[in-house]
């Protein structure tokens, strides 16, 4: 266990067997160590308390983590996800939007990235003016541009409007965003806070946009409440059904998830159906705004539903726009009030969408779980610090590795077998926003939400998981299909070859039968070349050598089934009810078991080559 994963440590009353130490982890793992000597236990406790709360970034694991990659590979890893490329993919810059250098060296806003897209008509003067009127100077900037109708999603923080203040530049800024979308004569301004919270903020000189001051905006509150956590309920020991449902409900977690999804759906529909641009903000514009923007982008653009696209999405909406990873996930010792599972909620939203649209996502549940794990583990540098500026100062890219490269390398593990690039659920805009039949019926979302994501929250209690994974099964089947395809091609080729040779030979034979009378002298040499014994012996030889390998593959395939069965003793050896887990694990070896058979098929290919050249 990485120290950074430890959430709390608790020393419990000494018992006869020793001194128990209860460790709760940020990835929902819960474990108890029993240390015989109380003094040892206390020492361990003290050092863990210290180690779990590093004070400096340099103490984190990622600065010492070395996966044996050379410098070049590491740099390539960091280059895997390139936001510049991403904006190009969106179709930027264009006539309406341009790359602004106003935030170079983080002069205007220290929590924003250096490279930002803003409307062409927004001059540096307007941007700087607007930034002064926004909380933490987070002025409106582009998050997503919807190529098909020029509508866009922009994000910012709340305006410092108080009860009556206004700012000409900020009004011009919103005007510029509206003008950047010729298809619509208004923009939505979405405040993701409940109205009450926003009004309360006015007393502190902050607040929300007044529709009278801004021309052509439609203002909308979407009440996503502040964040309270459900961690406690994951720890309930063998709860009764009603305890469980009651706890689930009282945590308010699902209500929260639904609010985020609703907001995302609202924005996605505004953009795709009404063709209107949307400006999203909450208070500071780095938590709820990030959640909502990324859900909306995910709904709008199939690219974000691919493995790479999803990494890009997190890089763009979370990492670059200054989501405070360090504060929210407690990487360094800090204010516990700042800690909140904001990105966990986003990840769960994605999972809920995956449940609804099983064919729409290129990645599977495991991908999400591993990303969540990396966010807390500090094994990689991506999710460190609170802003791009801090990361640059720490020279993260030079001193640590990128988790994206790591995930990308293992991408085979994260694929969704049901995903097909040409499937109706994946093509175009997922049909979600364009034909949102499933989402106009909001309760469809609602029902799915009642399903508790035990894959995530109970992932260390394997007994609670479905014992056989359909995903793994289908992946294995797909892999096998691929091998079969290869084998089919190889067999076909060989068959053709043999038939040709036979054809030749019968021709030769018939020739031979007629020829000997005429050129009896030739016949011997003729037949020797025609029959090409080397060729045949080569052929004959290659058969025995090949057929075992073929046999091997058969047995490998059978073996996998044997494997399935052979886990029986394992299973019955276990005496608790959870032994069914064995079943799951026997699936993955069966997937692995196929690797050698793949090799053998490759061997055969090379055999084949020998045969052909011979």
């Amino acid at each position: 266990i990485l120290h950074s994963q430890i959430s709390t440590i608790e020393k419990q009353a000494t018992t006869a067997t020793g001194c128990p130490l209860l460790i709760r982890c940020k990835n929902f793992q819960l474990l108890q160590l029993i240390i015989p000597q109380e003094r040892d236990c206390h020492d361990v406790y003290l050092s863990l308390v210290r180690l779990a709360r590093p004070v400096k970034y340099e103490e984190l694991y990622c600065f010492s983590f070395n996966p044996k990659l050379d410098k070049e590979e590491r740099e390539q890893g960091w280059m895997l996800i390139d936001l510049g490329e991403e904006y190009k993919r969106m179709g930027l810059p264009n006539n309406y939007w341009q790359l602004s250098d106003v935030n170079r060296d983080y002069r205007v806003c220290d929590s924003y990235p250096a490279d930002l897209y803003v409307p062409r008509s927004a001059t540096a003067h307007i941007i700087v003016g607007s930034s002064k009127f926004r909380s933490r100077r987070r002025f409106p900037a582009l998050s997503y541009y919807y190529r098909e109708n020029h509508a866009s999603i922009c994000r910012s923080s709340q305006p410092l409007s108080g009860f009556s203040a206004r700012c000409l530049e900020d009004e011009q800024m919103l005007q510029a965003i509206r003008k950047a979308n010729p298809g619509s004569d208004f923009i939505y301004v979405v405040d993701t806070r409940p109205k009450l919270n926003a009004m309360a903020n006015r007393a502190a000189g902050k607040g929300y946009e007044n529709e009278d001051n801004y021309s052509n905006i439609k203002f909308q509150f979407i009440g996503i409440e502040n964040i309270h956590v459900m961690r406690n309920m994951c720890e309930l020991k063998s709860p009764s059904m009603s305890d469980f449902l009651w706890g689930l409900e009282n945590s308010g977690w699902l209500r929260h998830i639904k609010a985020i999804l609703d907001a995302g759906i609202f924005i996605a529909k505004a953009v795709s159906e009404e063709g209107a641009s949307v400006l999203v903000h909450c208070s500071d514009g780095w938590d709820r705004t990030a959640q909502v923007c990324s859900v909306a982008s995910l709904l709008l653009d199939p690219h974000y539903r691919t493995l790479k696209g999803f990494m890009v999405l997190i890089e763009k909406d979370w990492i670059s726009f200054g989501h405070k990873f360090n504060h929210r996930y407690g990487n360094l010792d800090g204010d516990p009030k700042e800690i909140s599972p904001v990105i966990d909620q986003f990840i769960e939203c994605v999972w809920q969408l995956m449940e609804q649209f099983p064919c729409a996502f290129e990645f599977n549940e495991r991908f999400l779980i591993h990303i969540q794990n990396h966010i807390y583990s500090c094994q990689f540098g991506n999710f460190l610090c609170n802003s791009q500026k801090e990361r640059q100062e720490l020279k993260i890219q030079e001193r640590t590795h990128s988790s994206w490269a790591h995930l990308w390398k293992n991408r085979a593990e994260y694929l969704n077998p049901l995903f097909r690039a040409d499937h109706s659920q994946t093509r175009g805009a997922l049909r979600l926003p364009t034909a949102p039949c499933s989402f106009t019926h909001k309760y469809v979302v609602l029902w799915a939400l009642a399903q508790f994501w035990s894959g995530m929250y109970n992932r260390f209690e394997k007994g609670l998981q479905p014992r056989q994974s359909v995903t793994d099964y289908l992946m294995a089947v797909k892999e096998e299909s691929q091998q079969l395809e290869e084998e089919l091609a190889a067999l076909g080729e060989r068959l053709e070859k043999i038939q040709k040779v036979q054809l030749n030979r019968t021709e030769v034979k018939s020739n031979k039968q007629s020829e000997p009378r005429k050129h009896s002298g030739f016949s011997a040499s003729d037949s020797s070349t025609a029959n090409t014994p080397q060729d045949y012996t080569g052929n004959v030889k290659s058969f025995p050598s090949r057929s075992p390998s073929q046999g091997d593959e058969d047995s490998a395939l059978i073996l996998t089934q044997d494997n399935l069965k052979s886990s029986d003793p394992d299973l019955s050896a276990n005496s608790d009810q959870e032994s069914g887990v064995e079943d799951l694990s026997c699936r993955s070896p069966s997937g692995g078991e196929r690797a050698p058979s793949e090799d053998s098929s490759k061997d055969r290919d090379s055999d084949e080559a020998v045969f052909l050249t011979a």
Binding site: S242, L245, L418, Y443, V444, R467, V477, S572
Partner: protein
């Protein structure tokens, strides 16, 4: 024909049908003796065929001359018919009401249904007790078939043939029957080939307040124990309920008289408590207000998942005692026709790979539910919408199917059948054109001459064209015992049943299709590879032969 009297208006034009997720359809409504039919006049594209016996409750509403009938079905579907004309509407409503609550079983549709398909195999003879017994008799000689109940005289709710310990004579069985509730003496439910241990089931012993005992009963169940071994008696009622039962002549096995047996009490609910749970659950599922919190608290208040958890836990306990501890088990509640059967049949799903195949599951339903005398006619008389609330109405069988679904969800590759198979069984238990689920026990079915007069559900299901719909593409025979998780996190609401009509399943269906495609593609490839391999092998031998001379 009596139906004609009940049908006041057989036909109404311009009726509009409303269903969730479908556009409204206008067409002609026809009432027949057993069906409500709506057909749109355009090429018969949109048709609704609804069995009257599937109708659980109807509501009427009038707005001016336009009448609206809301039909609530036993499969939880709700449809709405707009009928022009008040008189027509009233006539239709009263006809539906009368036709959906026919008293006489012999007027039910199965007695009139003439199949349009060729019967390949008569389902009435697919699962004969003698054949089922043969599966055991190869492994053990300790059991025998008894014909003591041939005329249904010893136990009216048992089938004519039962399996009992070889050492016990029919005469003793008669005495034991007098000591057990409803004459349900202990019989074999399941024989575990791995270790020779068994599950038996029975009714409660009639000990009464004065602690009556029956030597034959003790001898019978002791006959199943190996020397020095102990067995378990699982009473599906909590201890206090079992104690109260003594006042009414029932009771439980006293330790003093059954020293080799350990008694465990579980608390599986029965009767109206389950029915109320179902009513609340379906109400919650149909709630159209989009409030997250109320949905969860309603789900919790229905207690449905709590019942599921309790039943599954008990079944797992039984399986564990049998498989891990190597102990024989006797299960009973009060009558031994409800919770007892849930437990015995689920334990077999967990333990016995055969019961996870389509045919094996059908045999299980036949053996542990139909022949064992689960009173389907009474239990499935009404569903979640009806206000009658009779004591004997209870979704016992639906709970069992739900439990099977929970296990299926946890072991998606271990079952030969899919979710649709379970849904189909649920539908036919409540309303069907087949005679299989009519009557309350074998004795009643015999009197009704169902075998001669109606078609068996299995005759229809076991045809290849139907089977393909119910086959799980992921199935790979799994000879293991499968241990499901019963933690609350692992149990889910069965959407396929309870949200079936309230959700659009388009994307899920597409995913299922995709899954089938992947697997079928794999099989096709495999077949092709095999053909080529064979061809190649043939050519090679030919080659060799040509070469050798």
């Amino acid at each position: 024909m009596e139906f004609a009297e009940l049908i006041k208006t057989p036909r109404v034009d311009n009726v509009v049908l409303h269903r969730p997720f479908y556009p409204a359809v206008e067409g002609t409504l026809c009432l027949t003796g057993h069906h409500l039919i709506l057909s749109s006049r355009q090429d018969n594209t949109e048709e609704l065929w609804l069995l009257h016996s599937n109708i659980d409750a109807i509501d009427k509403r009038f707005v001016g001359p336009l009448g609206t009938i809301i039909i609530k079905c036993k499969d939880f579907r709700i449809i709405q018919l707009d009928i022009p004309g008040m008189e027509e509407c009233l006539n239709i409503a009263s006809s539906i009401e009368a036709l959906s609550t026919l008293d006489s079983i012999t007027l039910m549709y199965p007695f009139f249904y003439r199949p349009m398909f060729d019967v390949i195999e008569d389902g009435w003879h697919s699962f004969l007790p003698e054949q089922e017994f043969e599966l055991y008799s190869s492994a053990t000689s300790e059991w025998r078939l008894s014909y003591v109940n041939k005329e249904f005289a010893v136990c009216p709710s048992y089938p004519p043939i039962v399996i009992v310990p070889r050492a016990i004579e029919d005469e003793a069985l008669r005495k034991v029957a007098a000591f057990r509730h409803g004459g349900r003496f202990p019989v074999l439910s399941y024989y575990h080939k791995k270790n020779g241990m068994v599950i038996m089931r029975s009714g409660q012993p009639l000990t009464g307040t004065n602690g009556r005992r029956c030597k034959e009963d003790e001898k019978l169940i002791n006959a199943t124990l190996r020397a020095g071994k102990r067995g378990y008696i699982i009473d599906t009622r909590p201890l206090n309920v079992a104690q109260q039962a003594r006042a009414k002549g029932g009771g439980f096995e006293q330790e003093a008289h059954y020293p080799q047996w350990r008694r465990i009490h579980k608390s599986i609910e029965r009767y109206h408590i389950l029915q109320e749970s179902l009513v609340k659950l379906v109400e919650a599922c149909n709630d159209q207000t989009h409030n997250m919190d109320r949905w969860l608290s309603k789900l919790e208040a229905s207690n449905w998942l709590t019942h599921i958890k309790e039943i599954l836990t008990t079944a797992c306990l039984v399986a564990q005692c049998l498989d891990r501890e190597g102990a024989s088990i006797l299960i009973h509640g009060t009558e031994g026709t409800d919770s007892t059967l849930q437990v015995t049949s689920l334990a077999q799903i967990i333990l016995e790979p055969r019961s996870r195949t389509i045919r094996g599951f059908e045999a299980l339903i036949e053996r542990e539910w139909l022949q064992a005398g689960h009173p389907f006619q009474q239990r499935c008389a009404q569903s979640a919408y009806c206000n009658s609330r009779q004591k004997w109405e209870s979704p016992v069988f639906l709970l069992f199917l739900d439990c099977v679904w929970q296990i299926l969800r946890q072991f998606p590759c271990s079952f030969e059948f899919n979710e649709n198979f379970l849904i189909m069984l649920f539908e036919h238990a409540y309303a069907s054109q087949f005679g299989t689920f009519l009557g309350n026990n074998e004795s009643e079915r015999c009197k009704l001459k169902l075998q001669q007069k109606t078609m068996s559900l299995w005759s229809w299901v076991n045809r290849p064209s139907e089977l393909s719909k119910f086959t799980n593409p992921l199935f790979e025979a799994n000879n293991l015992v499968i241990w499901p998780s019963v933690a609350p996190q692992s149990l889910q609401l069965w959407e396929g049943i309870f949200l079936r009509w309230n959700r659009s399943s388009r994307y899920l269906d597409e995913a299922y299709e995709e899954m089938v495609n992947i697997i079928e593609y794999n099989r096709a490839l495999q077949a092709k590879v095999n053909i080529l391999r064979r061809q190649l092998a043939e050519l090679e031998t030919e080659d060799g032969m040509q070469q050798s001379p």
